[in-house]
């Protein structure tokens, strides 16, 4: 079981959380002029990276709030977690940091 650091409550066991999909998948503006490809890409297509991923979690059995996390999908190591609304971290910089 993983230990996940909720930005509001601190480190808690994985069973308190629910994974909520890839983060920063924004709904494009101007829905009426989008192509089918743009709509379907946001709905169904995911980057599914092997390595650093940016994802949403929800602390369902805790504060109940959504937040974002950067995790390595090979080791499952959580690089960082941060509050919803904060910008997506620079993954290249994080990778360089993790390599040290």
């Amino acid at each position: 079981m993983l230990i996940i650091n909720c930005p509001y409550c601190g480190a808690r066991p994985e069973v308190e959380f629910r994974h909520a999909g890839e983060a920063h998948v924004a709904r494009p503006a101007g829905t009426e002029s989008l192509t089918d490809e743009e709509v379907v890409d946001r709905l169904y297509f995911r980057s599914n990276p092997k390595g650093m991923t940016v994802e949403r979690w929800r602390h369902v059995h805790g504060c109940g709030r959504f937040f974002n996390a950067v995790r390595d999908t090979v080791s499952d190591f959580f690089v960082t977690t941060y509050k919803t609304g904060e910008p997506k971290p620079d993954l290249e910089a994080l990778k360089a940091g993790a390599a040290k």
Binding site: M1, D36, D41, N48, T73, D76
Partner: protein, 417 residues
């Protein structure tokens, strides 16, 4: 290829079994092939076999980064059934079951297909209604599936606990008698041997690192750790790694990869006659011919390539197994392991052409593609050889997401095994 037969077995026994040839060659990679299949799991090997056998395409390489059959093919709990809800799925999975029935003879290799029956338990009123709906839909499609009362379930599977006071009481079950199991390794080895005999080169310990496209955007070569291979057609059959490999050609996929785990017990005498599945409480069990109880769990809740599942997921499954089959409560587990399964939004696979000319993809089998191995290879070979889908896999295109023609077995079953 030396055929397996009673006579040959006897003849080579006289020589102390020293005169058997290797089951397949260890060829070196050529610089050009008509078709390159990436991934030597059951689906990739079956594709190569049917390309050679049914379409006369024999200048084929199957490129595998590890050892053949070492992916999900060699890690799964081998449940075979075809009682899916939708017409498209019933056609695809039943095509596979029909091929399983003659496969050992067809490839002259005993894949130990055993139609011992798959019983899917219902624990809630919703389960009962959903099972009944599946049974009716299956019958309309000519796929066998029948309803058993709790007592009939226990008669079919004597170790089953049908007491009313347990946490998830058994309210009945849907039984597909033609369902069952097959020996996973034998499926990979049998297809490898048969494809090799038809001239297919199986290249192991060779990772594909790039897919090169020409100025018109079409596939022209793949780069591997053993060098560059020119080819006009590439079939990607890499299960959990499909997003990574398709990314090499610049194609995004509607997939997420999750760890799925299984475990086996110490071997015991024959004690369990059939396959029992419970989608509601995530427990899947059968007994292998070696005597081990083969138990499948659910996926982890977050995407990962770590290839091992979380402990609490396995505990949850074992809770269910111990309650449904009290006689296993003191049984020891020998090993557990994980695979990486590629899951689509509608839990149906993708067997399709792609926006890149010459690039084909067979993926998205998620937690339940072993059962489809021969059928998948058969229709995917057709798709590659003719550059158009077989009628059975036409609905399983990549375009279905854009066009809104999902085959939503996810909503139908909650879990697809």
């Amino acid at each position: 290829m030396q055929p397996f037969s009673a006579f040959n077995l006897f003849r080579r026994a006289l020589g102390g079994h020293t005169s058997w040839q290797a089951q397949w060659r260890q060829p070196s990679l050529k610089s050009e092939y008509d078709v390159v299949i990436i991934g030597a799991g059951g689906h990739g090997l079956a594709t190569a076999y049917y390309l050679a056998k049914e379409h006369g395409v024999r200048n084929v390489a199957v490129i595998e980064r590890g050892w053949l059959g070492g992916g999900n093919t060699g890690r799964n709990t081998t449940i075979i059934r075809s009682n899916y809800l939708f017409d498209e799925s019933a056609a695809l999975y039943d095509h596979a079951v029909k091929l399983w029935e003659g496969l050992s003879q067809g490839i002259n290799y005993n894949v130990m297909y055993s139609a011992r029956g798959v019983l899917m338990l219902a624990h809630t009123v919703h389960d009962v209604q959903s099972a009944q709906r599946h049974i009716h839909a299956n019958r309309l499609n000519g796929v066998d599936n029948e309803w058993l009362s709790p007592e009939e379930c226990r008669e079919f599977c004597p170790p089953l606990n049908i007491a009313k006071n347990i946490r998830y009481p058994v309210m009945g079950g849907a039984l597909q008698r033609r369902g069952g199991t097959a020996r996973h390794d034998a499926v990979a080895w049998g297809f490898a041997r048969a494809a090799d005999a038809l001239g297919v080169d199986i290249i192991q310990n060779c990772e594909v690192t790039a897919i090169r496209r020409n100025a018109a955007g079409a596939v022209e070569a793949v780069e591997t750790t053993k060098g560059t291979v020119r080819t006009k057609k590439v079939g990607v059959v890499t299960a959990g790694h499909t997003s990574v490999v398709m990314g090499m050609a610049g194609v995004r996929m509607p997939l997420e990869s999750f760890p799925l785990q299984a475990l086996v017990s110490e071997p015991v005498k024959p004690a369990f006659p059939c396959v029992v599945m419970s989608n509601t409480i995530h427990a899947y069990i059968s007994q292998s011919d070696k005597g081990e109880m083969v138990i499948g769990a659910g996926t982890d809740v977050y995407p990962s390539y770590s290839q091992r599942g979380a402990l609490h997921i396995a505990e949850h499954t074992l809770d269910a197994i111990c309650e449904l089959f009290p006689m296993f409560r003191r049984m020891r587990m020998l090993r557990n392991w994980g695979g990486i399964v590629d899951v689509t939004p509608d839990r149906s696979p993708i067997l399709s052409k792609t926006p890149v000319p010459g690039l084909y993809v067979n993926c998205g089998w998620g937690t339940g593609g072993f059962k489809a191995t021969p059928g998948s290879g058969n229709v995917f070979a057709h798709t590659i050889a003719r550059d158009e889908p077989h009628p059975i896999n036409a609905p399983f295109s990549l375009d279905r997401f854009r066009d809104g023609f999902l085959i939503d077995e996810a909503a139908a079953a909650a879990v697809a095994h």
